[in-house]
Subunit: 381 residues, 2 copies
């Protein structure tokens, strides 16, 4: 039986998510927005019976068993951890920092019977599911190089907000790079050991963001990841450029010793060494869902595929809170979310230091009195 | 009046160059090859009256006024410097090291009346000439990012040779990267200040290179260049991958504040911010010349365009040794060659050190007794 859903967020993703949930048979009972007006407006538009700007009203709503959190990164941890504590299943977007992600991992570990997945959507896209299958089957041989390029128009909101602020989780690396980092670890089955990166904010002011305000989040980001476990792993290069209005390009290429696979948008192509031309391995397949300007097609379709997987997962059980692992086995866990956030922060560190940075995943929460302790230690010596 | 030409080299470039020279009206009087057999074979094939394996026989040939040097990088300096010393005009390929390049610069400075240009061919390609013109006219606004990708099959010769050896000038960075480095400085009118790179040799042995022999030259190279003069310059990313048999991709994209230009192969596309789609700015234009498997089309056509420019340059004068600057003004000088070689070596250094490396162009020859001097200095202290 399908659980009742509560949705956090009124942005473009939440706006497309609700119709997708409904189409799969979920009932969306409650919507949370940062302001009453925002919540009310979207609830009316999407036909959601209850709306609020107080998070507890959704979390404690008796018909809500699954919470979908698509809000600014800096607020995600708080809602996600609380939702798990109240006993709700959680699908959420990335947090703003590794510390936030670590706390989410702790909560998820504490309630293993609850569903807790990152709403990273590229893994569910049939294109990448097929790509992974072919990689496992050895289509490209040993993976040598992964080359990802995402080009598109500015990610900034119309008005000044978190998308403009590096520390609030804005920028191409955090917003789009996260999904790419997760995808590459999913496809290759390995994780980044060392990273090197360069971030730039080419457009610091525009028509609506001016005066004393300045964009600090990156609109160009380039990074490399050396994948583990040993030094002979694949080398990933990722180029994100959001200074290209009027176009959207999403290309993931994996080159190996025996051939290569390229996902262009939602189409998958391949070429084995020795064959003369590329073959189309998975077509576009048509898209009956909505076409949304702000959400790139691979993300949009991935979101649709994730909702479908959620439906299958919950349908497997009679009790509306229970779910089956199988259909959502591919989904990124909160631990994957922590890994991604760790890589994002290492790339930012590298952009400052100019050096290769190691990806060390947090295994205990940093002591908030860390500086104090250091000072005490120095006194001892 | 056109000068008589002597050609050094029997490789694939020399093989296409000779017919191009003849088509423009040059007479090719002499051919040099590393062995008598190689020289004899190609001379017969191309109808060149004189062939030899002794370099002086070409350099001192009375009918030769222009020497074209397309030989392994490690031998280039010696022939080029000697040719200038004998009073011949020189077109040559890159040298193997910055020290070699520096000695070539010295020779070129010593004989300013002689033509001395690097046979780097991309500058002459109409595509890039048009791209540069549009950049100067402000089509893309302020240049932010240059993104270059060259993918293709292995650059290794069938048998073991200099192409397999990093120190002999083999590898993707040295062979193809050089042309890209030169092109980007030509297009943007700036030079790299700092570089960061990563080189890999994924295929260290193959069917013909095996046993104790191992390839040391790179088949994958990724590098970034921060262009000068100040820190606000463009950021260039270059990806070279020669593990992709059966395909050849040559893409140069320049993104600026007002739009972008992309050269795909020999076609030029552009899109201004605000317009909905790309426009074709310069078509393929057809190619009546030869189609050579080993030489990528942009290089092949660039070579053709350079030969045409040489003809115009020499035709401007009655005396067969004199030439006009105008038609070859765009050509890279030996000083450009030294710059390119310096960047190549900085990228290699960066790949070892993992750090950003500065591009410091040599202005005096390093003391061959450098290590000895250091030891003496240490003794003094």
């Amino acid at each position: 039986m399908l659980p009742g859903v509560g949705v956090f967020g009124t942005g473009s993703t939440a706006r497309v998510l609700v119709p997708m949930l409904k189409a799969e048979g979920f009932e969306v009972h409650a919507l949370w927005g940062r302001s009453e007006e925002e919540a009310c407006g979207l609830a009316k538009e999407l036909g959601i019976p209850f709306h609020t700007s107080r998070s507890d009203d959704v979390l404690l709503h008796q018909d809500v068993d699954l919470v979908c959190i698509y809000i600014p990164p800096s607020m995600t941890r708080q809602i996600a951890v609380k939702a798990l504590g109240i006993g709700k299943n959680v699908v959420c977007e990335k947090a703003a920092t590794a510390v936030d992600s670590f706390q989410m991992v702790n909560a998820a570990r504490y309630y293993p019977q609850l569903l807790s997945i990152m709403g990273n959507t590229l893994r569910f896209l049939p294109t990448f599911a097929a790509m992974r299958k072919l990689l496992v089957e050895g289509y490209v041989g040993e993976v040598q190089v992964c080359d990802v390029r995402v080009y598109g128009p500015s990610l900034l909101d119309r008005s000044y907000g978190w998308t403009c602020e590096d520390l609030m989780g804005g920028g191409g690396l955090h917003t789009v790079g996260s999904a790419v980092i997760d995808l590459l670890s999913y496809l290759t089955g390995t994780r980044a050991q060392r990273v090197h990166g360069l971030l730039r904010t080419f457009v610091q002011q525009n028509d609506t963001i001016k005066g004393i305000r300045r964009v600090t989040s990156d609109d160009f980001c380039f990074f490399q990841m050396l994948m583990g476990p040993c030094s002979g792993g694949a080398c990933c290069t990722v180029t994100l450029n959001f200074n290209m209005p009027g176009s959207f390009l999403h290309e993931v290429m994996i080159v190996g010793s025996a051939g290569r696979l390229v996902a262009r948008g939602t189409e998958l192509f391949g070429q084995r060494n020795g064959s003369k031309s590329e073959e189309l391995l998975l077509g576009d397949g048509g898209w009956a869902g909505p076409d949304v300007k702000d959400v790139p097609m691979p993300h949009l379709r991935g979101l649709g595929a994730m909702v479908k997987a959620l439906r299958q997962s919950f349908q497997a059980h009679q009790e509306r809170r229970l779910w089956a692992h199988g259909p959502v086995a591919a989904a990124p866990t909160f631990e994957d979310g922590l890994y991604v956030q760790t890589v994002v922060e290492a790339v930012k560190r590298s952009s400052y230091s100019g050096e290769w940075e190691c990806v060390d995943i947090m295994n205990k929460e940093p002591d908030p009195n860390h500086n104090l302790c250091e000072a005490l230690q120095r006194n001892k010596n």
